[in-house]
């Protein structure tokens, strides 16, 4: 199969879903952030005049407009850009989109896709480095997808658009240059299916988004030390594929959860809790978490590096749990 970059796969997904479904429109179009690859989006603007919109700087209004448009029959994909800006949209995302089906007793639905770029970007500092996915997980009603490979971004984006639920696609700018095999045709990856990205027997590493790449890097290094790590990519938090995680723990007996959210009440907390609740008898050691330390994100490079979950920290934690 051909190999393309993550950025190319993402733009291809947007193009294909727009070709396949006239109800799809783009509100905001920084899907590749400030990356040099953002020029790829120009082809979409050209191919779909009248279906790509550049809204004012009004995250709250834009999210609300998209929720309303989705209720009325469109399939909007809203680019909220940097995840930290999503807080402006919280009233619409949390109170409206997430609740509308339930509140209306199933009469209404809001098949909207919100797109954000989360996480540390290098110098983003406290107001441009958020990973809000755990907060979104804490408010039921939203599907949350986190692609980690070129193939996944294409398949998960397509599924997000097909889904009749409001979906948040949580993406990471540091994945854009990753290369991998991607089918040429439009395809969907069903939500709620984690993927074992690397088979191993000694320790399970559960991760999502960019942290899957970091976990794979750490697992590759650990081989030299005789440690065979299994890497499980959650791919979606809601719905969550608990079974794949528990099956892997049953095999390895050890779990390290890697996550770019802040540690306190982050995604890693929930995965660690689930494992300790439901996989307790399988665990040979306590579950370890590698997450962003609980401080606002500092600007200075050595400070940012100190708080971020790096491959080195993952490796050190693997060694510790194997002792």
């Amino acid at each position: 199969m051909r190999e393309i970059t993550y950025a190319e796969a993402k733009v291809e997904a947007l193009r294909d879903v727009m070709r396949a479904d006239r109800r799809v429109c783009l509100i905001g179009s920084y899907f590749l952030g400030l990356s040099p690859r953002r020029v790829l989006l120009e082809d979409i603007r050209k191919e779909f005049p009248g279906r790509v919109f550049d809204p004012p700087i009004s995250e709250g209004g834009v999210c609300g407009l998209a929720v309303g448009a989705a209720m009325a029959g469109l399939r909007p994909i809203v680019d909220v850009t940097t995840a930290s800006f999503l807080f402006h949209g919280f009233p619409q995302v949390i109170n409206e989109a997430a609740n509308v089906r339930y509140m209306s007793g199933g009469q209404l639905s809001a098949p909207v896709v919100f797109h954000i770029l989360h996480g540390l970007r290098g110098g983003g500092a406290a107001q441009h480095s958020h990973s809000p996915q755990a907060m979104l997980w804490n408010t039921p009603g939203l599907e949350i997808a986190l692609p980690a490979s070129p193939r996944d971004v294409k398949g998960l984006l397509a599924e997000a658009v097909h889904s009749d639920n409001p979906t948040i696609v949580v993406d990471h700018a540091r994945l854009f240059e990753v290369k991998g095999e991607v089918p040429e045709e439009l395809f969907s990856i069903p939500f709620g299916r984690a993927e074992v990205k690397r088979n191993g027997r000694d320790v399970t590493i559960v991760a999502s988004s960019l942290m899957v790449q970091r976990a794979l890097e750490a697992a590759g290094t650990a081989v030299a030390e005789g440690i065979d790590a299994e890497v499980v990519d959650l791919r979606t938090l809601v719905p969550l594929d608990k079974q794949t995680v528990l099956t892997s723990i049953a095999k390895t007996g050890r779990l390290v959860v890697v996550d770019e959210c802040h540690r306190s009440c982050g995604v890693a907390a929930e995965i660690a809790a689930l494992a300790a609740e439901e996989g307790f008898s399988q665990l040979k050691a306590p579950v370890k978490r590698v997450a962003t330390l609980d401080v606002p994100v500092p600007f200075s490079q050595p400070l940012e590096r100190y708080i971020e979950p790096t491959a080195e920290k993952i490796l050190a934690t693997i060694r510790e749990i194997m002792r």
Binding site: M103, Q127, A269, A273, E277, R289
Partner: protein, 325 residues
């Protein structure tokens, strides 16, 4: 000691702090009229509308205004009527109030208190009943307290107002009219200290806010079955008094965590993750969580009652942890 309702205890803390410190301001929608639940009743008459300030319905700008005023040295106490409305102030809370001290390298101080009430009670439905404490525990820079009785409501709020960092004081609407003994005059409870509500040797039950009441009821029921439940109320979720909880666990070997919020990435997940790492070898059984189901909050009284974790569900979870499946 006086017997006060939870809401009267809050009122008393506000009154005493307004009198004690000229920098304290009470700001929010309708606060000069007493607020929808009476927390600020009589304060405008006593301290004037200069310090008990009614605002427009502008949660985002109220949060920002109070943050700016706090940076100038005031000690604003703002009231956000329902935690659901804090969604409108999240940018100012998360990106500003919580971070200004850190972002400025410690140059700015934000002695801000946010009072907010939450919980499913009175058929408020999905947009007036959420429990969102996990959000605030997830945002570095905020402290989070959750009083479960009138005395704590006074003591924790007083401590929050005097704290030099932003503190969110999360009250529970269903507790507002419960009564309890409250110390007269100045009463503060240090933020970050848990309270032992009932001693027991068989299982530790950590419960927050309104679930403390439920936990005590369950402990009473199970005592009749020969199960001695130790009930701990963390009172402050961040900073968290993990030592008190793990000390109890070392004695009992078993832990159940109860809160009204949904479980997904909630406070229970964080506590469970911390405890299993800190006291793995002391665990005689898997830890259990009891929270709301993964759904928005329903409006119908019957559905709401089924949604909120009740005594029966909690008792079942405790039995299972103690007796095995």
């Amino acid at each position: 000691m006086a017997e006060l309702t939870y809401i009267e205890a809050i009122n008393s803390a506000l009154r005493e702090e307004l009198a004690r410190d000229r920098g304290v301001y009470v700001i929010g929608e309708d606060v000069a009229l007493g607020g929808p639940f009476g927390a600020t009743k009589g304060l405008a008459a006593e301290f004037g509308e200069r310090r008990v300030v009614n605002t427009p319905i502008s949660e985002g700008a109220i949060m920002g205004l109070a943050t700016g005023a706090a940076a100038m040295g005031l000690r604003p106490v703002i009231e956000v009527m329902f935690v659901d409305f804090i969604t409108l102030a999240m940018d100012q809370l998360v990106n500003h109030a919580a971070k200004l001290h850190y972002m400025s390298g410690g140059q700015l101080g934000i002695p801000l208190t946010v009072r907010v009430q939450q919980g499913a009670a009175g058929n408020g439905g999905a947009q007036h009943s959420q429990s969102l404490e996990a959000w605030f525990i997830h945002v570095p820079g905020l402290k989070v307290v959750m009083p479960s009785n009138p005395a704590d409501a006074k003591g924790l709020l007083t401590a929050a107002i005097r704290d030099d960092s932003p503190v969110i004081c999360i009250e529970h609407r269903a507790l507002y009219w419960t009564r309890g003994e409250v110390p007269d005059g100045e009463h503060t409870i240090p933020i970050g200290r848990a309270a032992l509500r009932r001693p027991g040797k068989d299982v530790t039950l950590v419960a927050t806010s309104r679930m403390v009441e439920v936990a005590l009821e369950v402990a009473g029921t199970l005592a009749n079955e020969g199960i001695e439940v130790e009930v701990i109320d963390p009172r402050s979720l961040l900073p968290l008094d993990l030592d008190t909880i793990t000390a109890s666990l070392r004695k009992t070997g078993r832990l159940v965590i109860a809160h009204e919020a949904v479980e997904g990435a909630g406070f229970g997940a964080e506590l469970l993750a911390q405890v299993q790492e800190a006291a793995f070898d002391y665990l005689d059984a898997p830890i259990a969580r009891v929270g709301a189901p993964f759904a928005p909050v329903p409006a119908s009284p019957v559905l709401e009652q089924a949604f909120v974790p009740g005594a029966e569900r909690l008792a079942g979870a405790v039995r299972k942890v103690v007796l095995g499946a």
